[in-house]
Symmetry: C2
Subunit: 351 residues, 2 copies
């Protein structure tokens, strides 16, 4: 009997539980070390009901999954991606604009106490980068940078297959690289950060600015008829040929090109991945992004691959690993699952 049990244990697969704790959705997935998705759950994050309620929901959902797989697989740990600034040493969430009331809350210790399992806490943009490295656009590379274009502009840096945290866990803040040094003020205290030109928020602001200066009748019509005027609405106009909307995305591309040039010139990585909601507007911003990068980085220009055909989403999914010195700039592949897979990966590889 004892031999049979230990033999069974030897054959047991290892899995981990990844959590994406966002301001809107709380998502949980169980993934095994062969990257097989065992289960995925999406709950609403009951932010308004308070921190303890969210912790209870998260704890219960994790426990349900852990109980279910207890006899089938061995749990390596739990990875949790959260939006905000994390103290890597203590596992405290220091600051999180999307999770009010969570500042200086010891998320890691609380979950570990509730579940008795090792927990790794990670910034959501870093987790997304690791997810894309593991199973997405960066899967054939050890070194990768990801830029996430959402409400803000986040980023994550993967070196040697692992998240590069830097000294205090704050590396990867590519959204605050200056692209117009005397430009629009940024919430971070600086001016002209990439976030002010390439986020969904920035697209809407630039559309309103274009309306205010006149001559953007298409944008004006859309904002009048659509109370929730969004970056997506601006993109829809752009692909219909609206010149003012197209110019806004050319600006997004220029900003990204400047950030990418700084990264290529400084780090010379093989691949840079663009994710987040605004990445869906790839067709509208990527031509000016590639043009700007080509002009601003001799490192890129020296060995740039042919500029991908606009709209070639499938092409980027089929990219062969290229180790010939060509710098690849491509779209993320995992969408909103990137952070979830990355969180699971963290627990599997031990941070």
């Amino acid at each position: 009997l004892s031999w049979a049990i230990s033999n069974q244990k030897l054959k047991m697969t290892t899995y981990s539980i990844g959590v994406d704790l966002g301001g809107t959705n709380l998502r949980i997935a169980a993934v095994d070390e062969q990257a097989q998705l065992l289960e995925k759950v999406t709950l609403g994050t009951q932010v308004t009901l308070g921190r303890d309620r969210v912790m209870d929901d998260m704890g219960a959902a994790i426990r349900r999954i852990a109980d279910k797989y207890e006899r089938k697989a061995s749990l390596a740990g739990i990875g949790i991606g959260v939006p905000g600034i994390i103290d890597m040493q203590t596992g405290m969430l220091r600051e999180s604009p999307n999770l009010p009331g969570w500042a200086d809350y010891p998320v890691r210790a609380e979950i570990e106490k509730r579940l008795g399992t090792r927990v790794i806490l990670e910034n959501d943009a870093n987790a997304a980068a690791l997810g894309e490295k593991w199973l997405g656009a960066g899967r054939d590379f050890d070194d990768m940078a990801m830029i996430t274009l959402g409400t803000g502009v986040g980023g994550g840096l993967i070196l040697g297959g692992r998240i590069w945290h830097g000294m205090t866990g704050m590396a990867g803040e590519f959204g605050h690289i200056a692209v117009e040094p005397e430009g629009h003020p940024c919430g971070c205290g600086s001016r002209g950060c990439a976030e002010q030109y390439a986020s969904a928020t920035a697209v809407v602001r630039m559309a309103r600015e274009a309306i205010a200066t006149g001559g953007a009748s298409g944008l004006l019509r859309t904002t009048s008829s659509d109370p929730e005027f969004s970056a997506k609405a601006v993109y829809n106009l752009a692909i219909q040929g609206d010149e003012a909307a197209k110019e806004i995305f050319r600006g997004v591309g220029r900003a990204l090109g400047i950030v990418l040039a700084a990264l290529v010139n400084g780090l010379n990585l093989p691949i840079y991945v663009i994710g987040g909601g605004v990445a869906s507007a790839w067709e509208a911003f990527s031509p000016s992004m590639f043009a700007e990068l080509q002009q601003r980085s001799m490192v890129y220009a020296a060995a740039a691959p042919p500029v991908p055909a606009v709209g070639a989403r499938e092409a980027s999914a089929q990219l062969e690993p290229r180790r010939s010195g060509k710098t690849i700039i491509t779209r993320a592949l995992l969408g909103t699952d990137a952070g979830l897979y990355g969180a699971a990966r963290l627990a599997l590889q031990g941070g």
Copy 2:
């Protein structure tokens, strides 16, 4: 006898030979693994007499040193720092503005053939960064970036104690990060690169621009009386209180602050080292550099150390290793020896 010899061999120290092959000086040093300088030789680089003459001079000087220490120490290898773009895999010098006629020349293979010893070829800015990491300002840290302000603006990145080359050996080109995207055209094909605002060449250009626009009488007098009007002359005026000269160095500081902010936001390293000839003007540019960085990097501002007293060169030499999350920006300590020590270090640590 045989026992005595092998015992002596066991006690033999290991050393390496570092070479700094510049466009003006050819410098060679023998350094042991305890970082003791055994010998240092400076020769002129006879560029005008041709590549083969320079190779002969270098080969002869290396052989002289190797012969001298043959019985006293064991030679680990030879490291050579050269200005230019190197193909890391083949050890070819692809391009070097300061060494005309050396393009696509297999420097590594040629020296190995002449001397029968392993040779490591490295970009001079990378070698300087490694030297500062080994024995200079970065000696207490594993991760470090160096910005070298010379005729151009170079850079080198050290991660985990080793040079970060990137995919094609071109990482560390911090001088081509844009600090004024629509600014002065750069030789690299871009506009507004840091090199156009923080190099010795840029200081002289900005001084001439200030003279041309009028109101820079001090600069005008100096350029009239000094046919070799240099960045040092502008600095001398600045420390005498000349307002136009001071403004030029404030501009140098702003440019450096923007580059440093990009590096701190992206990489979150513990230390950034500023070297090269223009770093001597630290007193003139560092106040605006720190102010710009403080404003542009929340990562820096969140945990900035007190701004160092201006002119406190000694203080930076005595910096205690700080692992408390404070970002250190400081001057290089090894001057023109950084690249020489770095080249020697490369051979000792095997690349």
